[in-house]
């Protein structure tokens, strides 16, 4: 580290060192083993195989989880079909709504339990699971419960009908929240579901299964099958699944699209991103710096819509980077269960390796890395918040999704150039615009090819607001009225 940055570190080192403030893990009891949730009860997988899930912050195993094979997936889909035919599709919307409301309320009641479990299994700081993931998951259920008896106002036609069984495959970055995004609209629309959580983060979905039992949802309406890629592939390929919803990598999304091509089965994909967070010289500068930090370091950068490319107007680039570094130096990395932790653990060894590899590529191609030099715990998977300067649009780290706490800074000269650079990516999920000029926000939003454009904020989610991508970021929308359309036939 240079002397100047040493000086800066000294200047920002806090006067009061916070004592550890860990959230108690005692609130949640983790079972030794989790079976599959099929037809309303937990059942042994047919082949009797299990895999373990670990705490990425310590590498300690948390539990064993059933590995669902094709046979299990088939049983789950059949259970879902039966529940669809006999109960759920016949039930009036106002009755379905009661169940969905009940799930939302139990999520709120058991919020602490869910938050602790999510942080243990995923590595995200408790501050985020407690204040973002869990409240938003409840909010999505509440929101869609309200739609269940108003489907004729959704739009696709005067008498919209549910599709049938929805096969839903979700990622590891927001395990509970993504389950909520998938289940809530599907259930409100009258579909039944088979949900496949990610193999590194299955536990919160299994706790949700417990909540679903507690809510007395009719058996088979929601089924949860755990496993890795093969389980997911079996689910999306199952002919009994009328609608597939996938959130995850672009690579897997393309494979799913090939599988479903010509089958007439419905598909929505929510895939990767390489979003531009665009800062103009008239931006509210302190809040913009917060927004940059929130854009890329929220959830360790494991966010498909992360603002991983910072496009800053050349005239203020140096000032922004300097302020950003000062702010990054105050980020607290460590125990995800500590209430004062800002940056938690990387979710898996594989993901950590990928972040390391892409960062090395960045340096090899001539970009300059800076990180605050915060201490990393000895055990577990950790990567310090990092910012790359001297990044050129042609560099790998400016084009590939890193899915980690790594920011690439580039500059632009004019609004037109900002749009051009922001759109110059295979992705198109989200973008951020920071300026005090309202007209410029609208001008930019009109031209940015991204499903979500945030103005003077970043990474804000609301159940009423549709979310989804352009180009290789996928198609279809989740959230809002639009999120229901993909679960309804006219």
């Amino acid at each position: 580290m240079t002397t100047a940055s040493n000086e800066r570190m000294k200047e920002v080192s806090p006067a009061i060192e916070y004592a550890p403030a860990p959230e108690s893990r005692a609130i949640v009891s983790i079972r030794e083993r989790y079976q599959l949730f099929i037809n309303g009860s937990f059942v042994e997988p047919q082949e009797g195989k299990y895999f373990s899930t670990i705490n990425p912050a310590t590498e300690e195993p948390l539990s064993e989880v059933a590995l669902a094979t094709e046979i299990d997936v088939d049983l789950a889909v059949m259970a879902a079909r039966r529940a669809f035919d006999e109960v759920w599709s016949r039930m009036p919307g106002r009755e379905r709504a009661k169940y969905i409301f009940r799930i939302a309320r139990i999520i709120q009641e058991r919020a602490r339990e869910l938050a602790v479990l999510e942080s243990l299994d995923n590595g995200k700081p408790i501050r985020e699971s407690r204040d973002v993931d869990v409240p938003l998951a409840a909010a999505y259920f509440f929101y869609y419960a309200g739609w269940a008896d108003k489907l004729e106002y959704v739009g696709p036609g005067p008498v919209p009908r549910p599709i049938g069984v929805a096969g839903q495959v979700i990622p590891w970055n927001f395990p509970l929240l993504m389950a909520a995004w998938k289940l809530a609209p599907a259930l409100a629309a009258g579909n039944t579901c088979v949900l496949k959580p990610a193999e590194t983060t299955p536990l919160s979905a299994l706790l949700l299964a417990d909540i679903i039992q507690q809510a007395e949802l009719p058996p088979g309406v929601v089924n949860i099958v755990t496993g890795a890629g093969e389980t997911g592939a079996a689910l999306v390929a199952h002919p009994g699944v009328g609608k597939v919803a996938f959130t995850g990598s672009t690579e897997v999304g393309k494979r799913i699209q090939r599988t479903l091509a010509g089958s007439g089965r419905r598909l929505t994909l929510e895939l990767g991103g390489k979003a531009a967070n665009i800062v103009f010289d008239d931006a509210p500068i302190n809040q913009a710096v917060e927004g940059i930090v929130n854009g890329i370091y929220f959830n360790q950068g494991h966010v498909c819509c992360a603002g991983s490319r910072l496009l800053v107007q050349e005239s203020i680039a140096e000032e922004i980077v300097e302020r950003l570094r000062r702010r990054m130096a105050s980020l607290r990395l460590g125990d995800p269960l500590d209430k004062n932790t800002d940056i938690g653990a990387i979710n898996s060894a594989g993901q950590l390796e990928k972040i390391h590899r892409l960062s090395k590529t960045g340096e090899a191609e001539g970009a300059v890395a800076w990180s605050s030099g915060c201490m990393l715990p000895e055990r577990g998977y950790w990567f310090p918040p990092t910012v790359f300067t001297k990044v050129e649009p042609a560099h790998t780290i400016a084009r590939e999704e890193i899915f980690g706490p790594v920011l690439s800074v580039m500059t632009f000269r004019t609004p037109a150039e900002a749009v051009q650079r922001a759109n110059n990516t295979v992705y198109g999920l989200s973008a951020g615009v920071w300026t005090e000029k309202g007209s410029r926000i609208l001008w930019m939003a009109e031209r940015l090819r991204a499903g979500v454009v945030w103005a003077n904020t970043y990474n804000r989610f609301d159940p009423a607001s549709p979310f989804g991508g352009f180009k290789e970021s996928g198609f279809g929308r989740e959230g809002g009225r639009h999120g229901l359309e993909s679960y309804l036939d006219r």
């Binding site: 200047e11 806090p14 004592a19 550890p20 008239d282 509210p284 302190n286 917060e290 004062n340 003077n456």
Partner: protein, 338 residues
Amino acid sequence: MTGPKPLGEVGEAAIAKHTSRASAIPSGADQLLRPRADSSLPGFLRSLPGVDQVGLEARAAALATRSIKAGAKILALETAISMVDLTTLEGDDTPGKVRALCAKAKAPDPADPGVGPVAAVCIYPDLVSLAKAELANSPVLVAAVATAFPSGRSPLSVKLADVEAAVEAGADEVDMVIDRAALLAGDYARVLLEVREVKKACGGAHLKVILETGELATYDNINRASWIAMLGGADFIKTSTGKVAPASTLPVALLMMEAVREYHGETGRPVGVKVAGGIRTAKDAIRYLVLVNETLPGQWMSKSLFRFGASSLLNDLLVQRYKQIHGVYGGPDDYSLE
């Protein structure tokens, strides 16, 4: 009305540094652009980056979730006690009331020698000489509100006389109010002039400039008022008189701390922050200290650069400190009310 005065060295330097992007312009052209420093004040204030309300409030709310435990909590509580400006600003403040206040300020918890005195007592000017006598041989300072506190609606000459009287009576610190009407009317030069004149009248006394943020309404106004006060020579900028709601809030305090940080970065002069009004619980106080901790360099975590203007806060700090050390709460009458 007195004409606007030059900004002075500190102000010039801040403006020059702030507009350093224009520094490549040859000095001749610079002269053309800015013939007089004074006329650049409104332009300078308008050139400050905007403040986004949603973002500022979100950041303050996020910092309010910090959980301060164990040793850090005791340290925070004791630091907060040392930063209190124990205040009484009522029409019925009698010499007896002020004597009681001074005794409390010197030894907030006479049963526990571990509790040091507070930073200052804050009173009306006519009570300064009495308080000085009461506090002789103690480190507790006497702060007097002046300049037609709290509204500030008197001629400048009266305000200056008010300040001079307080200083003559021995006030160590003067808490002035800015002319909010002038600020809202866009007469920034007037606000600056008054701060500067009061600073001069203070002589050696420290000047705290009260912005009365509840009357300024927007964060941009509060930011501008902070800069005017600092350019005018304020040793502290202070949120509120305590007579107007809303008084101090976390976002307002965060914004003022950011302004202080910018000003320090550009001039090298550290300016203190005083939050006042409505801060009644130890929990509130700790939240303000978290803002200091994560916004400003370490030197601000001291009574020389951060203060709480409060009265009932002090007892809650004592109660919570006792609880933290001994594990149980004391009774309501374990501490004197003043």
